[in-house]
Symmetry: C2
Subunit: 492 residues, 2 copies
Amino acid sequence: MSNQSVNPRTGEKFGPIFISTSLAAIDETISLSVLAFESWSRTKPSERARILSAMADALDEHTESLVDIADEETGLGRVRLTGEVARTTFQIRAFAKALSVNLFVEEEIDEVQDGAPPQGHPRFIRTLRGIGPVAIFGASNFPFAFSTFGGDTASALAAGCSVVIKAHPAHPQTAQLTFDIASRALAGAGAPAGLVALAHGYECGTLMITDPRISAGAFTGSRTGGRALFDLAQSREYPIPFYGELGSINPVVALAGALDDPKAFVTSYLDSLLMGNGQFCTNPSVLFTPESVSLVAEIQEQIATRDLAPFLSEATKKLHDANRAQLIHSIEAISCEGKTVDNPGFYSTPLVLVVKASDINEQISDIAEECFGPTGVVITYTSIEQVIALLRQMEGALAGCLFASETDVAAPRILDALASMCGRVAFNAWPTGVAVTYGQHHGGPYPASTSSLHTSVGTYAITRFLRPVTFQGLPIELYETMNASLLKGIRE
Amino acid sequence: MSNQSVNPRTGEKFGPIFISTSLAAIDETISLSVLAFESWSRTKPSERARILSAMADALDEHTESLVDIADEETGLGRVRLTGEVARTTFQIRAFAKALSVNLFVEEEIDEVQDGAPPQGHPRFIRTLRGIGPVAIFGASNFPFAFSTFGGDTASALAAGCSVVIKAHPAHPQTAQLTFDIASRALAGAGAPAGLVALAHGYECGTLMITDPRISAGAFTGSRTGGRALFDLAQSREYPIPFYGELGSINPVVALAGALDDPKAFVTSYLDSLLMGNGQFCTNPSVLFTPESVSLVAEIQEQIATRDLAPFLSEATKKLHDANRAQLIHSIEAISCEGKTVDNPGFYSTPLVLVVKASDINEQISDIAEECFGPTGVVITYTSIEQVIALLRQMEGALAGCLFASETDVAAPRILDALASMCGRVAFNAWPTGVAVTYGQHHGGPYPASTSSLHTSVGTYAITRFLRPVTFQGLPIELYETMNASLLKGIRE
């Protein structure tokens, strides 16, 4: 089995052929990953921070060559990709910073309490340690921020875990170049050999997630692929945590009071809907607007002026087109269609379907299937009750948004309804644009995430790979000796 | 289908017959649970704390009648059971106290950061909300602390979740009485109707864990039963978190320096091994001692003086006896056997098998299968390397212990080896006795727990049922209005 890059703007293959990593090589790689974990997980957090920062610096230095190849492989454009490299290294440094102030890694000491149980107890030192080697499955739509050395890899490394990464087949050269730069920087800064590894090919994913030496998995991608890996991870003799992000509808509700300027509103809507050619996990797939303010003419006019962007791959285009055909078939809607293009590359016409809430009711599950690409649905409503009833029938989402005036009496109820199904609720903002910060939560009820308690973006992402261990009745001196002697053992 | 209590001391049935809850009743119960969740999850933490405390008070007041029936159903003895009720209400109050100081429920505000992304970002208010209605599967071995209103139920209620509890078939009357007292107290203190529910029967477990309206499951019990429920929870169309505690070996390592008084050491060993007739999840199933200090004669002498306690049920005895027969068959060991008993109740002779580390090597997985009952294995070693090599081959455990002098040079390495496979590492203490406190971690790699990141005992247990939701760009005033108006809506 082998794989070669395809330029999505032209449909042409180019560059080196990547032979799938052999079973024997995967086995050897995981053995090394176990050894690397043993020492890396016992390396001081401040030391891990220094090494991760060196890796971020190296990636920044090579931004230009990374963007060159990523643009050819993904068609996402140099501006967006340059920003994405900066975001990726910012993310790595954010974890390094958290480590350097001992955030999420410092022990908590629960001192001796005299007396008989249940009140009395010995000293507990609650610590967090890396869960073990992690299998990482990167996404195609963010070739840097959610791929090879994206948030999953960076947070796992910060937690003290080693990683085995599966290169995404839609950007093998970008994956390989990123890996080469990052792994060289890690080694140069003193990280143990085998701390990071990259595998190519389809079968390696199954091997990685079912290997008993792998302790966790992280994935961003399609619902089908993610669910298959999740099922493998859970059906092992020893199941492991699997953090999958499998797609999201991201409902947006606009109240009449927020539509004073329909033109500007539609512009910002189409910007968000078509961002990354609609291939963001956070595009607003469903928008609720009041029936009293028709946006059809405005959408029709503006969508026709939008330039087309290519899909990430032929497979993504085909899946989108099939889903969209089904969507069109299942609802009675007004179509607002964009330009068409006559091009051998992977393109589809942008499309917004406008449908009345009263016409759908029970069918919301058909409508709210994610059409990953430049397709949106606008649902016009006559009452807030209608909106809330439909939101209740929808699947879990990464983000939900409300456009309203601050004093609108309906705002609290809608915010709460969105919070019941989403991991993030944005006010007067579109769902695209996910800040890398402490308070971020990029997760949500299934299928947005296979683990709604955890986030894949922001500082808390590190907690996915940390397992608590408490030491009971241990003298502080012995605890310190233990840590010191383990670190010494590694350096010798 | 129906069920009746059995006195394990005599093998005789007694008391009312419990008819299995019907499918229709389960369905109706879960509908009510959803409604109760809607209001309870939006009730102020301080208010939830007050209501939970009222429930704890009611259980305390009825300690005597609870202990009466539990002793008849479980044979665990009045002293232990009285202590267990106190521990259970202490646990409920610990969660109430955490809520009253807003621990784990207070929002974290990540303020606006000016500038372009990735540095700049809007305000994020990170909140935690109850995950939804939870299905609870109590354990037979702790009829109060890990059953109907044990740690799982208490932490789920504290998190703002409603609960549907499956009564354990080995103590249906205890479950029903606990439920009656607790649910009356909750209602009296103002909790919503349907917040807690109790179901009897075998099939109800499958119905509960597969119902799409149930958002999480918690279980303590056998590996077979727990794994079956885990598999159901993970294979749903919408998988849910399942917190299962499925059994644990709890290895204990004694270094020569800790064996100055073999008599006292063996006494404390047998106390821990035979506590609850060996039916604790924390009994020390495997003890490592140096070959240079033989404990055989001491164990033989002391085990013969121990009084026998009954098994919790006939099923538990049968499973133990079968596992023990297999264990005896698989290793060459010296047997130290206790008294036998001629009694129609559910009893087995206490047994300690002593085996040389050099005689087992690769067979450790056979030996380290949990024999849930009064059976222990002592492994005698000639070097620390032998111990560490064997620990590496063992399954994940809730607790591991080291008996050593504080200055023993081998201590750090063994502590670390135990921490690699356990959730709690105790120094100069046996694994039995789990303090309910902030720093506790009662979990560990599978099968100790199906989710090694979480604890089922101690304040952190509440985090299992809390899902983060961040509000982006929301004015603080509107956030406060939202919370206030939701609370108002509930009380109206």
